[in-house]
């Protein structure tokens, strides 16, 4: 137990920071903003490619996939430095975080070159097709069909909550290929180009605004997808799904911790400006959130150490549950602290960060609403509690 990482890790951190400061795009280049999680402006594509070529896009990857074979802890401090500076390494985060790793884990060498490399180099954008109208928390109940017919899958059905699908070049979709098998065993994972006839994404506004177009319904109507686009083995898609969500969950807590720190920093400034920094009632909830933030990081560090040892880290669900709810409570407290001033939804609550998504400094109301993405997406807080109760506390199903 030590307050600092070892010297080698800190040297790695310093090397990255030096590179980052010398290479990151200037604010004058970044005027064009991203409109969805698969809308990547030209400058952001160049930036992602610069990181790929230098081996700084995903440091834990081998060099041919944009990395430098970094260790888990090095990958972590890399993300820590990006987060601290509010820098996205990709404006198509689900592609970098979930889709490319899934292809690299389960795809053939040819598929890695054909799909993963262009995605990592931001030459191709991607969306993740998991949830369906009747398959949310019960993902394995998904019903979108893909029937193998000769050398194509014929896809019929519907996905929903498919972030960025209308801007994406390709969708990594989980589809039912064997309707007669038990529900976990008849699922496959295929890459569906969005220009395939019969693929129709329809974006819809979120609770934040009718103009906040990221989520999509995607309809598949006899869409023919080459059989070679199968990722992993036929009917073994559940393994890929678990792998994908595993990628998503591994350092998910860091996202909550960064969000929390931003809210606390921006909130502290606003509380001072509003003359509320000496209010004992404010101290009670603000203090609780400062403590939540510290505890979240500590538990995250512990999980990281466990993962490095190769131990099963059952704490992932605890971190997701705790982190997302702590962020939400804090966003709510801040939103309500400023009275009518919180009506002004044009006021930025934090400094503009030109290499970051614009939602991170939105109004407190928007931040509060967006916090529900944390407590709903990727397994709701209720599902997390069930998982923790059964897997950690050993309570019966």
């Amino acid at each position: 137990m030590k307050l600092r990482f070892d010297d080698e890790t800190e040297a790695f951190r310093a090397e990255f920071v030096t590179w980052l400061e010398a290479n990151m795009p200037d604010e004058s280049e970044t005027g064009e903003r991203s409109a969805s999680t698969a809308d990547v402006p030209e400058w952001a594509r160049r930036w992602q490619r610069t990181m790929f070529d230098a081996g700084w896009l995903v440091p834990s990857n081998p060099p041919e996939f944009g990395g430098r074979n970094a260790t888990l802890i090095e990958q972590f401090v890399y993300l820590e430095e990006l987060g601290k500076r509010h820098i996205y390494n990709s404006f198509n985060p689900q592609a970098l975080g979930i889709i490319a790793p899934s292809i690299l884990s389960f795809g053939t060498d040819e598929q890695k070159q054909k799909w993963a490399v262009p995605i990592l180099r931001a030459e191709m954008t991607a969306a993740l097709g998991m949830s369906e109208p009747d398959a949310g928390s019960d993902l394995a109940g998904l019903r979108t069909r893909a029937d193998l017919s000769g050398d194509v899958f014929v896809v019929n059905g519907q996905k929903v909550w498919t972030s960025g699908a209308h801007d994406a070049d390709v969708i990594l979709a989980f589809v039912r290929t064997d309707p007669d098998a038990p529900k976990h065993k008849g699922i496959s994972c295929i890459l569906i180009p969005t220009d395939t006839p019969g693929v129709n994404p329809r974006p819809f506004g979120s609770i934040v605004s009718p103009d906040d177009l990221d989520f999509n319904e995607v309809f598949f109507d006899d869409a023919e997808v080459p059989a070679e686009n199968l990722i992993g083995e036929l009917h073994q898609g559940w393994r890929v799904a678990n792998g994908s969500l595993g990628h998503e969950r591994a350092m998910l807590w860091l996202g909550f911790a960064e969000r929390m720190r931003d809210q606390l920093d921006h909130g502290a400034r606003a509380l001072r400006e509003h003359g509320l920094a000496d209010d004992p009632l404010v101290h009670d909830w603000y203090g609780r959130s400062v403590i939540d933030n510290e505890a979240l990081r500590l538990l995250g560090y512990r999980t990281l150490a466990k993962t490095r040892r190769g131990a099963e880290a059952t704490e992932q669900s605890i971190l997701k549950l705790f982190g997302s709810e702590a962020v939400q409570q804090n966003a709510l407290d801040l939103f309500e602290a400023f009275g009518p001033d919180s009506f002004d939804d044009t006021e930025l609550t934090g400094p503009f960060n030109h290499l970051h998504g614009d939602s991170f400094n939105a109004s407190w109301f928007e931040r509060y609403l967006r916090s529900f993405a944390g407590t709903i997406a990727g397994g709701t807080s209720q599902i997390q509690r069930n998982i923790v109760a059964e897997r950690v506390l050993g309570l019966p199903r």
């Binding site: 137990m1 030590k2 307050l3 600092r4 990482f5 070892d6 601290k84 500076r85 509010h86 720190r261 931003d262 606390l264 920093d265 502290a268 400034r269 509380l271 001072r272 920094a277 004992p280 404010v282 101290h283 009670d284 603000y286 203090g287 609780r288 400062v290 403590i291 939540d292 510290e294 505890a295 990081r297 500590l298 538990l299 560090y301 512990r302 150490a305 466990k306 704490e315 605890i318 549950l321 705790f322 400094p351 209720q382 509690r385 069930n386 923790v388 109760a389 059964e390 950690v392 506390l393 050993g394 309570l395 019966p396 199903r397």
Partner: protein
């Protein structure tokens, strides 16, 4: 940060856990509370195992473990509602002596602790004052709810210094160590009979110059000792809360209604998970406080307040959900749940409430919170 206990630390935890589970059953706690037995036998076992010496510096005759090992042990002692003077001796008295006493006396007093002498501490600067008298001091005032105040061999008293004529380079607070026999003490009967508390009447107690520490730096020493006090009592509260959760889990796995274990109901599961999250949060912060103390990091003061506030949140939720989930079966004297409910609540009442410490944390953060940009520049 490398925030994982080492193999040795995990082993220490397991050893302490196994020993206290065997040697400190709830039947002993019930006997102590009923007054039919005392904790002396158990304390002697701790002494034979060298536990009081664990966190005494090697140069003072101890084993030289850090505050991290201390909170590991304390959490396990909280788990059994330990009735011995371990908490007071090792996390209250010894830190005060270590931080405030001058070299020779420090070694003498701490060496005695390592060999099994007990100590208590009264943090009483608001209610006890000391006046210079010849080459010694005279105390006046009272200190309430001092842990082990009526049964420790030595009592360390933090008092304000009334007479400033001695003047010069001196804080307005001093530490005075007196033999327990010279203090008029009365045992407090409280809802937690296994945490031994006493009120001290100190009027006229004389302290020789060799046991009075009033130099510059004593106030800072007291503050540093307080960090250890908070880490220790927080860990003990976490341990008691963990025991409540474990008792609850055992119960809801066994108890059947409607033909199934009640632990299969989501309404039950979710309350239990919330207890776990509160415990993990508080345990992490108690260990973090200990780590900042062990490395003498400048965050140690705020980390100690965080630990105490989180321990408070933790006991509050664990007691509430714990009693509720036990249903009628937990609402009895016979059920062991009440023992740990009492210990968890007792921790909240001492050394500042969680509300107090949350406010301390918030004030520190609101005064110093840097923007992320400033942090990057650092």
């Amino acid at each position: 940060m490398d925030f994982e206990l080492t193999e040795d630390q995990l082993e220490l935890r397991q050893i302490v856990h196994d020993i206290v589970e065997r040697e400190c059953p709830t039947s002993l706690i019930r006997a102590v509370v009923a007054g039919t037995e005392d904790a002396a036998g158990l304390w002697k076992q701790y002494v034979d195992l060298d536990w009081p010496a664990l966190t005494i510096p090697e140069s003072d005759g101890g084993i030289g473990f850090t505050a991290v090992e201390s909170v590991i042990v304390l959490a396990e002692l909280g788990y059994v509602a330990d009735p011995t003077p371990f908490l007071a001796t090792t996390t209250q008295y010894a830190p005060l002596v270590r931080e405030c006493a001058t070299d020779g006396v420090r070694s003498e007093l701490l060496g005695a602790v390592a060999r099994g002498a007990t100590g208590a501490a009264a943090f009483a600067r608001d209610t006890v004052s000391a006046t210079a008298d010849g080459d010694g001091w005279v105390l006046s005032g009272t200190a309430r709810y001092v842990v082990d105040g009526d049964r420790a061999e030595q009592v360390a008293i933090v008092a304000s210094i009334g007479d400033r004529e001695g003047g010069g380079d001196r804080d307005d607070v001093g530490l005075f160590v007196v033999p327990g026999a010279e203090v008029q003490a009365s045992h407090d009967v409280t809802f937690d009979g296994s945490l031994h508390l006493a009120d001290l009447a100190l009027d006229g107690v004389r302290v020789g110059a060799d046991r009075a520490f009033t130099g510059a730096g004593v106030a800072d020493g007291v503050a540093r000792a307080e960090h250890e006090v908070l880490a220790g009592i927080s860990a003990m509260t976490v341990g008691a809360s963990q025991r409540i959760l474990d008792l609850v889990l055992e119960h809801v796995k066994e108890r059947k209604q409607f033909g199934v274990p009640i632990g299969s109901f989501q309404a039950v599961k979710h309350l239990a998970v919330d207890m776990l999250v509160a415990i993990e949060r508080a345990r992490a912060l108690a260990e973090f406080a200990a780590l900042t103390i062990a490395e003498d990091d400048p965050r140690r003061a705020v980390a100690a307040s965080m630990a105490k506030a989180a321990a408070g949140d933790c006991q509050r939720l664990c007691v509430k959900n714990g009693i509720q989930l036990f249903g009628g079966l937990g609402f009895t004297w016979e059920n062991d749940l009440q023992i740990f409910v009492r210990r968890a609540k007792a921790g909240e009442l001492l050394f500042g409430s969680s509300t107090h410490h949350r406010a301390t944390v918030a004030r520190t953060a609101l005064a110093t919170s840097a923007t992320a940009a400033e942090e990057v520049a650092r």
